[in-house]
Symmetry: C4
Subunit: 279 residues, 4 copies
């Protein structure tokens, strides 16, 4: 996030902005690290609260910590809204929405029971860690990965559609074969079983008992085994492509012919391939 225009803002807001949104200064880094620990602790507290023995032993502690962190994050959110030059832009950005959602669940518990588990949304805020670590390197990697996934999203969708159709047909088939025994009590359940099998998860809560059912299941497994190769092949090809493009871009940017300005010369080239001038 680039520094907004602070010409008409008081000095305090300016200083706070550097601390809250920036990561370059000592204070800005410290703020982010303290914030991260607060997020970790609040998420951990929600998780531990769900374990009955722990909840019963430390009920008060959990109540206090929940409200403490919620008020802390509410203050932080208000601060961000106050000091940024474009409150709307922040409020509707990815992190702006997450920051808001991270505070609401506790207030919700005043009206609705059970809403407190939504606090786990806070864990998404942990992605801020990549900003603190100055994660040029990580961000570049993440962008290579997300580009590769984005480029292959059409293929992945076609593939998932095919897998789901296969699961629907095989699930119905198994429902007819096993006839309600050994867990195949309905078609939706059998489709669930088929997905569990194709993806090689294999819980075993539903498993065929008849010879025919086991034969069909074996076939489905072998198909799943061959099919799993497809998304891998897709993503591998895209990652290899993305990696290649990035490298080509990086290396091409380095060598430029002074005579004609053409870039993209091989590493050991001596003459420009475009105008024959010495590089």
């Amino acid at each position: 996030m680039s520094h907004p225009d602070f010409k008409f803002l008081p000095q305090l807001r300016k200083n706070l902005f550097v601390i809250v949104f920036g990561t370059d200064t000592r204070a800005g880094k410290l703020f982010d690290i303290v914030l991260l620990w607060a997020i970790v602790l609040s998420v951990l507290s929600v998780m531990l609260e769900s374990v009955r023995e722990i909840r019963e032993a430390y009920a008060d502690l959990f109540f206090i910590s929940e409200w403490f962190f919620t008020i802390l994050f509410t203050i932080e959110y208000s601060l961000r809204i106050f000091i940024t030059a474009e409150p709307k832009k922040y409020a509707f950005s990815f992190f702006g929405i997450i920051d808001l959602l991270a505070t609401l669940p506790t207030y919700l518990t005043l009206f609705v029971a059970g809403g407190s588990y939504l606090i786990v949304i806070r864990s998404i805020r942990l992605l801020r860690i990549f900003r603190i670590l100055k994660l040029g390197r990580y961000l570049r990697e993440a962008s290579v990965l997300s580009n590769a996934l984005a480029a292959s999203r059409h293929k992945i969708l076609v593939f998932l559609g095919a897998v789901f159709t296969l699961a629907m047909i095989m699930g119905t088939l198994m429902y007819m074969i096993e006839g309600g025994e050994s867990g195949f009590t309905s078609i939706p359940r059998s489709i669930y079983w088929a997905i569990v099998t194709i993806t090689t998860v294999g819980y075993g809560d539903i498993a065929p008992q008849t010879i025919l059912g086991q034969a069909v299941a074996s076939m489905l497994m072998l198909m799943g085994y061959a099919i799993i190769a497809v998304p891998t092949g897709i993503v591998t090809t895209e990652i290899a492509q993305a990696e290649k493009n990035r490298k080509k871009k990086e290396s091409a940017a380095k060598r430029e012919c002074i005579a004609c300005g053409k870039i993209g010369h091989a590493k050991d080239a001596i003459f420009c391939k475009n105008c024959a001038a010495k590089l």
Copy 2:
């Protein structure tokens, strides 16, 4: 599907054809969307009917919906046969056969009990969705995938044959080792277990109990772990190849020498590699 020759057809048939088979006009698109929803609802209805509690509560509703959709699809199928210029070609095309099979099961239930589950074949009709979305892009991706799978089908067959032989031998071995205990009650069952294990599905309904059996199973797992790499490698190589060919074709089609007409020049080429004319 290209427009057939309508010279000698009445105007009604012509208009219907554009609506039923086409997707370019507003009416054609609406028809396809309504059809898709009908398919989704009819498939959902069959699935929910298989859940006993729901079936018992809404028996009448399911009976009505089943016949409603069946008659609807019968009308649609007749319409398609009637308006197309080449009824035979449609009737024996992939979608023609599926469209017919999607209506038959309900009529079958008049004579045979239990046939209604075959209605799930209707779900294959959902593949029409790709036509509505104007899926030039999806179709191209699907063709890249299916070409890659077709190109690697010999290797995949050799591989599956090897895996099945391995499962047969290891299954028999485990039957001899475990001796009927812990689920290894027959060789076919033990082969089923071996396939469950090699494909890393691992239900756990059959699991070795003796030390020797667990040692052999561990070996089989490690083999399966290394083996799973093979289909992935095959398909990845083919997809990379298919992707490369498509790109080469696309880019090659773009650069053509005006002098000799040769296409397929490198991006940074200045002279035609065939006749040395300036590109």
Copy 3:
């Protein structure tokens, strides 16, 4: 197998050789197909015999079929030894040994009980199917696969060694954490569990119950998840390499300069890159 020198052999042996070892003539093909069906039936018979209900119902049938096929295969084996010009070479070849092992188990049952299951070795003989289908294409694919596996065997061994060491350490750790509960009753059993987990088979016959155990198991799973990428990467790279080499060889073999004899010219080359003569 090339035709051996038959100059000094009687005509009968010569004719039989063409039928038994060859696949080009009508009789040779028929012989192989009959043989394959005999193998399939004999293997199926052994498998079905292991299912108790079937064994008890058709005990006589199984006894007869077992001896029938065994005597048949014994005759076939003797025939092969008799008619080949180099009996020793055949007897110690891969298929020679398998052919012998496929007949022995039944004779063994005269002296030792339970040996009959070894008959499953016969299933390896089914690999002959590739010879009948004239499987130039399949054999080439199989050789690409086996070359790729052979080229990567050192890497795979290093990898399996690392995985086994990891399983040993994690298994012992889990034995110490879970303390004999929930199936972790001994270190070998815990190592078995670790292998079941790393390979993502996950039977569930042994599963951690303590929080700490589940945390360590989660870590092991994520490691296994990342690790499975390694053999895939190895084999994919090798298959891509093998495929590339085969294609290069094939295409290079096609274009040869008449002037200097150099092969390996690009598809669209017009002049020899070695001596500038027109191709």
Copy 4:
């Protein structure tokens, strides 16, 4: 390890060094093989001791073998410290630390119960096997693998972070949906389930029972199925890159221009691309 400067050392130390650290001489090889067997036997002995029936039957034997091997390895460790020219460098090297840790646990049992299982650390010493086998080839492969993993560590970390966040959110969601039934008794347990599912291990000790829970689980499985492609794609790309670099380096090192000394010429090049001299 290169031979240290032995000018001022007595002959005995010199000879021992060749035997203990070297693998080129007959004695050195024998020493390493005996050592490896001792390690294998000691590790096996610890493992078997953990099986209750065996422990109770051979308690004395295990006690003796444990102390025998511990004293043996203590002597070996002292010897290594004594004869090496740089004791500090060895003591803090990877194998130096492992060698020490391999002897300590038994002494620890004099003071603390249960420490003896740490002996399994000895199994890491088995990695020495690669030194005996003169494993130039294996070491090169291992370095290709570890380079590829090192190069992709940032991507893998980003990926594991994303998977863990996904597991946290889906685990909490499932805890809310299943409501303590069928094993989802707390959020940490549900996260454990989510990891078991995403990684396709699928024990089945915890499995969703409600329709909604199964639907969400199916979605998670399909995501896990698509996601598993990512680390594979990353590592495959890196291995392919590492392999390519190695080959380029090897082949480039072979062809050198005599005139200008430039290396890295293509296989079929006739003239130096740098100075046009004939190669």
